[in-house]
């Protein structure tokens, strides 16, 4: 159950930030879908929907996605469809139902660094930065690892249009449920990025596995070995959806299969 004393719709990020730092329990609201399931006393809920953060645009080098863009917008974006084998749309399409995806926002998901997120895992396999109002640009992997150093507002994310190939896969107990484990992998000129999320902790890169592949190149045998390394280097937890042992096994299978899929795009 949440309680909210006041509701504000600032028209600029400056105004939103000043409201945010005014009180400890002032909160930037995003879509509010996950907050709904928790319990929180909020002094002022700050809604950014009038601050012009709902967009997906591209320039010569990057794709920029505003914080208030919904996962439904990600799923149907003609811009995102052109890049990375549409991996971002594929990463969000199993999240509950279309009605919820039309509410959940990019900013709410990424700033909160939700462990269960499929979208964050998709982004992590790409060359992604987050743009924070006070702290500026930070790479997504650093942001996921360290979080925000101070109270801040996520304005947008940017993705380098570096023409990498990418694939996403996940395992669920039933359609629309949270993933037991998810994996996204990209390949740019033989350099692989392997992201594993819903461990159930937040998504991370499988660095040793990436290093192995980047040094030895892709082959079926090396994909099997890289998957084995990923499943051994990462830590997995247990929750109602699956045990750490099951997740470790899943990691091996999903990394191997997703690597094959990415390689398939190259052939």
């Amino acid at each position: 159950m949440i309680s909210i004393n006041e509701y504000a719709t600032p028209e600029s990020v400056e105004e939103a930030y000043n409201l945010l730092i005014k009180k400890r329990n002032n909160v930037v609201f995003g879509g509010g879908a996950f907050i709904r399931m928790g319990s929180k006393n909020i002094s002022t809920a700050i809604d950014l929907s009038k601050a012009n953060f709902n967009y997906i645009v591209e320039d010569e080098n990057t794709i920029n996605i505003g914080a208030m863009t919904t996962l439904g917008d990600i799923e149907h974006s003609p811009i995102l469809k052109k890049y990375f084998n549409n991996v971002l749309a594929k990463s969000v399409r199993e999240i509950v139902g279309i009605q919820l995806r039309n509410i959940v926002t990019v900013g709410g998901t990424v700033y909160s660094r939700y462990g269960f997120s499929d979208f964050i895992t998709g982004l992590l396999a790409l060359n992604t930065n987050v743009e924070l109002y006070k702290q500026g640009n930070i790479s997504l992997d650093k942001f996921l690892e360290e979080g925000s150093r101070e109270r801040d507002i996520l304005k947008s994310i940017s993705i380098m249009k570096d023409n990498r190939k990418a694939a996403f896969s996940s395992m669920r107990n039933s359609k629309g449920d949270y993933a037991i484990l998810n994996v996204a992998i990209s390949n740019l000129n033989g350099k692989y990025r392997i992201a594993v999320g819903a461990r159930p902790n937040r998504a991370v890169l499988a660095n040793k596995s990436m290093e192995y592949l980047n040094n030895n190149g892709f082959s079926q045998k090396n994909a099997v070995e890289a998957a084995k390394i990923a499943s051994e280097e990462l830590t997995f937890g247990t929750n109602s959806r699956g045990s750490n042992i099951y997740r470790k096994q899943l990691c091996y299978v999903l990394v191997k299969n997703t690597l094959m899929e990415v390689q398939g795009y190259e052939d």
Binding site: R36, A45, V96, G97, I98
Partner: protein, 155 residues
Amino acid sequence: MKIEMKINGVKKYFEVSPDEYLVDTLRNNGYISVKRGCDTGMCGVCTVHMDGKAILSCVILSAMANGHEITTIEGVREEAKKVGEFLVSEGVEQCGYCSTGLIMNILYLEKCIENPTDEEILHYLNGNLCRCTGYSGQLRAIKKYLEVKNSESSE
């Protein structure tokens, strides 16, 4: 706080609490087709359209809907009746509690995809749970409805 919404084409003003959810504002003001279900965004029975997009009214604060256009099934009676007839003819109306949310999502699907495949229909229906009938009958009903709708519009 005071909010304004255009509901089914009519401008309305409401006094709401900042933590009131849209499903409550709607139901408290007579739009009782909008059902309360899981309250966690999982079951789809509270589906309405906001600015033409299907959303869950149990997840959206009424304050977030301020200034937006909301459509409930009361605003699309004729279209809903047609869909409903196909659901009945396939025997998938049963208790009917999920029907209004389901129909609102079918109408959204129809707007988004012209000739959806079975896979696309099931993908859109992922957010509407039904405890009575299962989903095969719903799939049959939707396919028949869209077939008839498409043949009518091509005449």
